[in-house]
Symmetry: C2
Subunit: 265 residues, 2 copies
DNA sequence: GTCATTTTTGACGGGTTGTCAGAAAATCTA
DNA sequence: TAGATTTTCTGACAACCCGTCAAAAATGAC
């Protein structure tokens, strides 16, 4: 917002500094979550840590909530890259079919929650109206686009499954309806399951002792129910998990190390 | 609103007033959500509205978060009563089997979100660590018990289904494992679906145009997959929805009007 | 080196939470 | 009923935090 739209002119040192600071703010805010929880993020603390006054931060973000929203957009981008890694991995292996790619995305979601737990926390935090209502519409749109991209990845896999005849569209139904059902089903099952696991202390008390395994089982049940070939084979599934998980963890490391720069808005 | 007369130890007028105030605080805080959102709840506002100083409120609750937690416990109790209404309704109708009772709980969850939307909001809000970490352990336990009660209701229905042979425990598996799978599956599907519906603006953009219908469809698919008899019949399901929903809405009205007193802790 | 422009500052006003010593009220006792 | 004791309430206080804005400082063009 403080940077004037200069396209051809080389950036002046000051402009460079300002642009870099946007990233620096986010890089500073993010690790605070791990150290002191979400509530430890404050304009004060961020400003102090990067050696600048609060007023300056407000030149970049209109409020704290918008910083959170930007962090959330980053988080979703990371998740999306993990999804893509799973898809690529499955497509590269001739032994893997479309269904494995789909399962792989589920595994990727699990790895994401484990490897980028703070990001997962952020994603949940920004949903809450005290946060949400203060955010700017522009950044909300950016986030929505990131999320749509994630959904699109799942849709892509489903589309390929239909094209490959692994998945039959029932007579009288449309591919869109089927896609909607699967996407929303898996989304609810995985997102809901992981949120419940992360935030419901009464889980073991309620007889849910193995949420992850149960979650996978339920996803498989859903895919079986819509007739996604090949049908669930626990042994094969376990092999996919065992081989894909380390790959995704390595990818996580890669993502984490990569510069967080790029478009932020 | 009036506490049942205690025989052994008559309450002094002052004690009565104090005890009643606990309820009054909650009754005052709750409607603030509808008016100004969650962020409009403040010790200041509550104290002012019931004609007392902030200090007095702190004699009842150690902080704002504990008030929210108490409201959440109330909320879960309301949901539980709605669940029970659905179960009772299904058991009273000879045309309804165990599976209808299970579906009924799902309908009840939908009605709960629609009729007690503020309560649903509260339930989500207290999960967030900035809130959660400030709450007292005692009240957290109370809440956990309320939630366990809800889960137990679902477990009860599943147990009856197994007993009635509507649901077969697969050879090599235990009833506990099957129950866990169904409970966690439905919980994730419904809770996740409703949270996504309520907080994800990118939903239509992502091709999810009918979240509720899709959600029901997926629940039915899950129950079909585990072989819960009778198998899904859209027509019959619709009849259950059409008859049960008004009943549950009426029950909601009843619950809403009923005194919110009782154990609060 | 000058001067217009951009950027940063830091003090200000308004809010919130939680505490606590002292005031007030209620209850008890004689 | 009057005083003593206990309980309860108060309101000021300290410590945060947020967002603004006029004035100061830095920048960079000429």
């Amino acid at each position: 917002m403080t940077v004037s739209p200069q396209h051809d002119r080389p950036l002046t040192p000051k402009q460079r500094e300002i642009r870099a600071r946007e990233t620096r703010i986010l890089d500073t805010a993010h690790p605070m979550i791990r150290r002191g929880g979400l509530s430890s993020i404050s304009m004060n603390a961020i400003a102090e840590q990067i050696g600048v006054t609060r007023g300056t931060i407000y030149n970049h973000f209109p409020n704290k909530e918008d910083i959170l929203l930007s962090l959330a957009a980053r988080a979703v981008r990371r998740r999306s890259r993990l999804f893509q890694a799973a898809i690529d991995w499955a497509e590269a292996d001739p032994k893997c079919g479309s269904r494995d790619a789909c399962s792989g995305i589920g595994i990727a979601a699990e790895v994401y929650v484990d490897q980028f737990n703070d990001d997962f926390t952020i994603e949940q935090a920004i949903r809450h109206d005290p946060v949400w209502e203060k955010t700017s519409a522009r950044r909300r749109d950016v986030l929505a686009d990131c999320e749509t991209a994630c959904i699109t990845q799942v849709g892509y896999v489903i589309g390929h499954a239909i094209a490959a005849r692994d998945l039959e569209v029932p007579t009288g139904a449309t591919a869109e309806a089927l896609t909607q059902q699967i996407v929303f089903g898996l989304w609810s099952l995985v997102y809901g399951g992981l949120v419940i696991e992360a935030t419901s202390p009464s889980l073991p008390q309620s007889g849910i002792t193995q949420p992850r395994q149960t979650m996978r089982h339920n996803c498989a049940a859903l895919l079986d129910q819509v007739g996604w070939q090949p049908m669930h084979d626990p042994a094969h599934y376990q092999i996919v998990i065992d081989k894909l998980t380390p790959h995704l963890i390595a990818t996580s490391q890669l993502i984490r190390n990569q510069s967080t720069s790029g478009e932020d808005s």
